[in-house]
Symmetry: C2
Subunit: 114 residues, 2 copies
DNA sequence: AAAACATACCCAAGTTTCTTATGTATATAA
DNA sequence: TTATATACATAAGAAACTTGGGTATGTTTT
């Protein structure tokens, strides 16, 4: 799936933020949620998503829990305590980056305006 | 220089946009402009900048012109016609991506609001 | 005078993060 | 029975960086 080349590095933040809002999600669900929220414009590839999830788990930010649903295995991810801390950190990093981008690309831009 | 991990993918757009606004800039000048505009928060590394400039030139989006200033060589870059077209394309790509990011990360967000 | 910093260009090795392609398996719809 | 949807996963390769060099001149600090 997919064809969006931009801002490599924001996938982790997306995953963490969705998990902050949802308590518990599985991989496939994350791809679908992102697709919904962006009306199909951003499609997370599985080749990007699963390695990212595994990495976040290895770093201790996520824990997993396997569930059987209709003869299908689902691997649910949720935030650890460290994960909860990291969400805020990653979010403000990204938001400050986007703010800086605006300052570079749109000299008229002021924070708090359209 | 530098210590900002994000930006993957947006550097080309930054270069093109600055050149749209300034007609003609040299590499070092670009790093300084970005530093100014972001109050030191984004520092373009030379290891990232020069390869990016060379690539954009190879793609026919930029042309160069060498000038001697105080016994120092400066390589000025400016947009070609194709470069001028690409600025708009890259800008709307990036803006739509940022919009989608907002939709994912901030469910309250609506375009045109703070 | 020497050292440090600023200006100005460049490249190469290595890392991270992605894309693309592939594989496994079950369930349902055409 | 073929395709699509659900659900996981890995591996090769590409792209865009970081880090750490190198060259050279001019200025400021110690």
């Amino acid at each position: 799936m997919s064809n969006n080349n931009l801002i490599k590095g924001s996938l982790q933040t997306i995953i963490l933020k969705l998990l902050e809002e949802n308590e518990k999600m599985y991989g496939y669900e994350i791809t679908q949620r992102v697709k919904e929220l962006t009306e199909g414009e951003i499609k997370i590839t599985e080749g990007a998503l699963y390695p990212a999830l595994h990495k976040l788990e290895a770093e201790g930010l996520l824990t997993t829990e396997i569930q059987q649903v209709d003869n299908r295995v689902r691997k649910y991810y949720s935030l650890t305590k460290n994960g909860q801390k990291e969400v805020s950190a990653k979010m403000s990093e990204l938001q400050s980056f986007v703010g800086n981008l605006q300052r570079i690309l749109d000299p008229e831009w002021k924070p708090g305006l359209a």
